[in-house]
């Protein structure tokens, strides 16, 4: 799968990614940009990317979760399914959207719409922007953990092309639930991490005020994620950030998205699925000690003195 377009994409991503290591201040600036209140959300990108869009609502089990928007649309005159976390812009909408923190119903809605994509052979595009899945007693009662786990599994099993783009803030399991795609990309000023800087500082530093320090430690920027092989490409943003010019941001994203989908369309479904699984098999960083005869370390009765 080394088409010219793919190589070009990788080179461009590389150009952004191989800049010098980022300072704590630079990282913190990116964290701020990723969460800028004027930053485009899925409902800002969708009308700019798709020629037609119909939103689909509800998980058919319990309720509709407005923290996730999902729907069908025409993208360069072919059907696609788009799913993304939607934060609100003003106070009222933020409350309505639960600050982009989905509950289990959000992920179940996403899976339901993915099933439609599979049925008609439409690519699935996910736009990730969440501080994390919602921490609530009711969400737990209805299976928040299981919903995220099943969403990951559903994405691994799709035979259609899948592309995930982190457009703002991608934090915790709430983000990866929608991020298990053939191609994963990040916008230049977006972040992707195991937890939000605030959450991390509260847990690791036992002090919620150390979030800048936490951000510098997590290094959640696109450049780093590219370096670690977590994302395949870094999508450039207009000067000053995507919030300055939604149209230009959408245009840049469109170029990357179209290339990725075209590249993926050429691969047969089964093979695409295999490659997707293989992609996520590879991610990780560990050491392998040279132990003598490691396969014969036996425990058990010999140690039992009782």
């Amino acid at each position: 799968m080394s088409s010219a377009a793919g190589d070009a994409m990788r080179r461009l991503g590389n150009a952004i990614a191989t800049t010098e290591p980022q300072s704590a201040d630079q990282i913190w600036e990116i964290v701020q940009l990723a969460r800028h209140q004027d930053r485009p959300y899925p409902l800002d990108y969708i009308p700019r990317l798709l020629s037609d869009f119909e939103e689909l609502r509800g998980d058919r089990l319990y309720r509709d979760d407005p923290a996730i928007v999902a729907g069908i649309g025409r993208y360069h005159d072919t059907p696609v399914v788009v799913i993304g976390q939607q934060k609100g812009r003003d106070t009222q909408e933020r409350t309505h959207r639960n600050f982009g923190m989905p509950g289990p119903e959000g992920y179940r809605k996403a899976m339901r719409v993915m099933a439609l994509a599979e049925k008609i052979g439409a690519p699935v595009v996910t736009l990730i922007d969440t501080p994390g899945a919602f921490p609530g007693a009711d969400a737990e009662q209805r299976g928040q953990g299981g919903a995220i786990a099943t969403s990951i599994r559903t994405m691994l099993r799709l035979n259609v092309p899948t592309v995930s783009i982190v457009i703002g803030e991608g934090s915790s399991g709430g983000a990866i639930a929608l991020g298990v795609a053939d191609r994963v990309m990040m916008l230049q000023n977006s972040t992707y991490s195991v937890i939000s800087p605030e959450g991390g500082s509260a847990i690791l530093w036992r002090d919620a005020a150390k979030s800048k320090l936490a951000a510098a430690a997590f290094q959640p920027t696109a450049a780093n994620c590219y370096r670690w092989g977590v994302v395949d490409a870094v999508v450039p943003e207009p000067d000053g950030g995507a919030h300055r010019d939604h149209d230009a941001a959408a245009k840049l994203l469109d170029r990357y998205l179209q290339r990725a989908i075209n590249e993926l369309r050429d691969v047969p479904g089964q093979e695409r699925r295999r490659q997707r699984n293989a992609r996520f098999r590879r991610i990780g960083s560990y050491r392998e000690l040279a132990l003598a005869d490691t396969s014969a370390v036996v425990s058990g009765r010999s140690e039992h003195s009782g």
């Binding site: 737990e140 299981g146 995220i148 195991v194 050491r287 132990l291 425990s299």
Partner: protein, 326 residues
């Protein structure tokens, strides 16, 4: 000095004015009822309090010892060790935290092994809360993936025992990716049609509960285990609601429909073995039930036939005696 039973120990403690006996370093007291056990007793009791049923924490190796019924088993991939891709430092450098945990004799937060539970061969992967809170980093993800592949290749079931605070924050986004990696492993089992049992020990939270731990074909939890995606403290801080005291506990999650059953550790092996036996594709060494009944009937008839000469002799004797009496 060894205490014979728990009861004696409790009687001793009742004397108020008496000086407290120092507890040896390898002994433990039950946090629920105060019963006191030596290390040997703990091991024999599967780290369950014999007087109140409190389930103590179990290390990964000890867990597999228990599953194997203290028979020998082979540890898999102990050579995989944590790296420090982010050169991460919070209150302490990550490498130092890892060293400290390794000094306790632990290799990582997950131990994998090849063993048999009763008659059923299987692969087991048990998490170790003592190693950085059982957090899932790259090693846990890789070992789990290999365990899945091994189980798929051998066509034996996989048993995963979770005890984890979630993804390992010190590995940043790479730890988050282990959630998807672990599910990729489970997909290999799905394709090989090999069953996987998920056992949730205290606690199973965060990214572990939101990935493989929730995807068992059969899912059991230990009594009192906390099972939730978000921790109770985070939920209380975010939603400002006071949580019920039984929030997220195994018993609650059973009612919520999130697990199949709450299983006492002392019954775990039996339950797992039964599930494996039921799902096994191979016919069991015992003949089918109908044949067992037929065999039982036949042997009863044989016993009766063998007994017949004796019985008839007795009858004849009695008849003769009766005749003589007349």
């Amino acid at each position: 000095m060894r205490r014979a039973t728990v009861t004696i120990d409790r009687l001793r403690r009742r004397g108020d004015g008496r000086k407290k006996r120092p507890i040896p370093a390898d002994d433990s007291s039950c946090p629920t009822c105060g019963s006191h056990f030596s290390a040997d007793e703990m091991r024999r009791n599967l780290h369950v309090c014999t007087s109140c049923g409190h389930h103590f924490r179990v290390s990964g190796k000890e867990r597999i010892d228990q599953l194997a019924g203290f028979e020998s088993w082979t540890e898999l991939w102990p050579e995989l060790r944590a790296a420090d891709p982010l050169q991460f430092t919070d209150l302490e450098p990550y490498t130092k935290r890892v060293e400290k945990a390794e000094d306790k004799g632990l290799s990582e937060a997950l131990v994998a092994g090849e063993l048999s539970i009763g008659r059923q061969p299987c692969i087991a992967a048990a998490m170790d809360f003592g190693f950085l809170g059982g957090s899932m980093g790259s090693v846990v993800g890789e070992k789990l993936l290999r365990a899945c592949d091994r189980a798929a290749e051998r066509r034996v079931p996989l048993i995963v025992v979770s005890a984890s605070g979630g993804a390992r924050m010190q590995e940043g986004v790479l730890a988050l990716m282990q959630m998807s990696k672990s599910v990729v492993g489970f997909e290999a089992l799905h394709e090989a049609a090999v069953p996987v049992m998920s056992v949730l020990a205290h606690p199973t939270t965060g990214g572990v509960w939101a990935s493989f731990a929730a995807l068992g074909d059969v899912t059991y939890a230990e009594p009192g285990a906390l099972i939730s995606f978000s921790g109770p403290r985070v939920i209380e801080q975010t939603t400002r609601e006071k949580l019920a005291p039984d929030f997220g506990l195994a018993e609650t999650q059973l009612r919520n429909g999130q697990i199949d059953d709450v299983v006492d550790r002392r019954e775990l092996n039996e339950r797992l073995e039964r599930v494996m036996r039921i799902l096994s594709r191979e016919s069991s060494p015992e003949p089918p039930l109908a044949m067992q009944w037929a065999q039982q009937g036949a042997s009863r008839a044989q016993r009766a036939a063998r007994a017949l000469p004796r019985v008839s002799r007795r009858i004849m004797d009695r008849l003769r005696r009766d005749e003589e009496a007349e």
